[in-house]
Symmetry: C2
Subunit: 400 residues, 2 copies
């Protein structure tokens, strides 16, 4: 049986970023750039006033107060028409182009307007260049402003708008199909009969994938027969990622692995030294990655975070492909019974800049309710026998 670390390595090495796609730049939010982006303009595009005030010749303000003749009123979006000469000033608004001749802007608060508005009293000496942003100081024509691989956040959206990149190449999010297997499953809207339960994994897995931006289709529930599983897998093979839930443990009706082999899926691994979630199959059939996860809800949840999360992030072109990890001070002693890596639903908190974590109460890998009280998974390593209170332990943070 391979370790969790080996399994994660196998998955991430088997995955490549998807082929780039051109999208409207606003739809790039949350994706990664698949191209470098150059600016088509200088920014600022002209010497620009950073304040509302008066454009002056700095030398004229060497001895203050001094009165200057106001020769023009320059608004943002309009070109100055007059050159400022010694003894003169132009009233200027934030974002407007500074007029020729002027080499500083004195802000309104440091001036006094004189009636009839054609003269201004400057109260404070200006340094050459003050309150003027020089053409091209933030970016220049032809400069690469954003690089391939950059995650597109609101600030990158702003830069794409600034440089007029209305369409842009990105790594798309994968399409994901989800199949739930099990004769015991009924859909949400139905009331389960005595020996049945509702299909919950299909929906929680879908939510995990949707939160990553994936385009998810719930393919539905199949019975534990090779024929039904085979037929549904055919539909799933149209997706970039196929997730199967259930049918992978040692039972006689655990047929998912058999069907995967029947259709010549390349199997990378079938079992991982992990709790919960030992029986997890990872394979590839043509261009589709197939993850067959255990049917227990917590095992399903955890194995998605461990194996499918980094796979999808890598397909989307991210370089940071794993969940954030922290170290935290353990609040409850943990005795390690099994020689398998364990992931336990836990509550992480910080207080006075120190991080703490404690496992939440849970009844094992079927107890999904416990994960609603958790904001993290506490990682119990396979090579440690006991964790004492106060010991630092690894924690995988789960976002809100």
């Amino acid at each position: 049986m391979i370790t969790v670390d080996t399994a994660i390595k196998i998955v991430t090495e088997a995955v490549r970023p998807l082929s780039p796609k051109r999208v409207h730049f606003e739809d790039g939010l949350g994706l990664c750039l698949a191209q470098d982006v150059q600016s088509d303009i200088d920014m600022p595009p002209f010497n620009r006033s950073a304040m509302d005030g008066y454009a002056v010749i700095a030398e004229d303000t060497a001895n203050v107060p001094v009165e200057l003749a106001v020769i023009e009123n320059i608004a943002a979006g309009y070109a100055p028409t007059k050159r400022v000469q010694r003894g003169q000033a132009s009233k200027i608004m934030t974002g407007a182009a500074t007029p020729d001749g002027a080499d500083a802007v004195v802000k309104f608060e440091e001036t006094e307007s004189l009636e009839p508005n054609s003269r201004v009293k400057i109260l404070k000496t200006a340094k050459k260049g003050s309150n003027i942003s020089n053409r091209g100081e933030d970016m220049r024509v032809g400069q690469t402003v954003l690089f391939k691989g950059t995650p597109i956040r609101p600030q990158e959206i702003g830069i794409l708008a600034t440089v007029g990149k209305s369409d842009v190449e990105v790594f798309p999010a994968p399409t994901v199909g989800i199949i739930s297997t099990g004769d015991e499953l009924v859909d949400v809207a139905r009331k389960p009969a005595h020996v049945q339960i509702r299909n919950s994994n299909g929906y929680s897995l879908s939510a995990q994938a949707r939160r990553l931006g994936a385009d998810v289709e719930l393919l539905g529930i199949v019975k534990d027969t090779k024929k039904e599983i085979f037929d549904m897998i055919q539909r799933g093979l149209k997706k970039d990622v196929l997730i199967m839930s259930g049918g992978v443990s040692m039972g006689e009706y655990d047929l998912v692995g058999e069907v995967m082999k029947d259709i010549n899926t390349r199997i990378y691994f079938e079992k991982v030294a992990l709790r919960p979630g030992k029986p997890v199959i990872f394979g590839r059939k043509d261009d589709t990655l197939i993850f067959a996860l255990p049917g227990n809800p917590v095992a399903s949840f955890v194995t998605f975070e461990l194996f499918i999360y980094p796979a999808i992030r890598k397909m989307m072109g991210f370089t940071a492909i794993h969940r954030n990890m922290m170290k935290a001070s353990l609040e409850t002693e943990i005795i390690v019974k099994r020689k398998r890596r364990e992931y336990r639903p836990a509550l992480f908190r910080t207080q006075d800049n120190v991080s703490y974590v404690s496992p939440v109460e849970w009844h094992g890998s079927a107890d999904l309710l416990s994960t609603t009280r958790a904001n993290s998974l506490l990682i119990v390593r396979e090579d440690i026998e006991k964790y004492a209170v106060g010991q630092l332990i690894d924690v995988m943070l789960l976002p809100d």
Copy 2:
């Protein structure tokens, strides 16, 4: 001029969660529950095998090895039909209901199947109750399993599915309208003439709000005239939140505040002791919150995070309404010049469980490109004169 802390307090106290809305439970992902949710079933709904193996009477396994007669084969989804008596066992699959009489399950790995399959050799003594999950141990009929105010994550989606809650009351995300003002602005697809720039704030603000789940409409660009601003504000008043960009500083064409007063907007504040972003107006007109932000891109970005982010989170019913804050060791000395709170684009990193932060190079509040190199905002307090290298400083984390 009020402080940033006071302004944030004013905003969050003025905001109430929006009226709850009933949605299909899958569409609740990322929103908060506006109701308690009860389970309509016990979970597990029956005494359930947690393993593939044999259901036995524990006492029969006191001395191993022992041979038992196999009387039935119970799959998940099917009811057992025979009572297990002394000397007997039923083969059972994970998730299946345990048969009457049996009080333990021995997993396959601890048994040896005997030909012709009608007998099994048990190799390990079983404790009463082992590998059986008792009916109702995770949740009981009528139990409140999720509470009003809970953020709906994938695990909550799984619980809603489990208890058959196919529709659920949530606090919706607000509708947001965005208006960009300025005679100098042209749209992304156009090449700016000499004194123009492209509208970038509209798009970056939209992305900031969309990332929170808001339903955003870019209302467009208006010229700096009271008539155009007035007309566009009428459209914006149909939204829960109206964001205006530009037109709020001291210039003669900064007419946004005037128009807000003309239409009897209740103004909460007009200036905050903040850099970048001093001129920021917060008001309410009927049911619409209006935020008028400065036109400089970094000021626009920062003021959204400080004031609009918590407002939208509170409207959505979250109790955690602010960005995550951390303390980090400063990597560059900072001398404080102004008695205004400063937020600087910064790079936050952790190494060996210690957090570090350093400001990224920037040329002031127009330099949006600097924020693409940042993953956080470093907070320079108004009451401190100097930060030394290694000193702990507050950092607001910005997500990918």
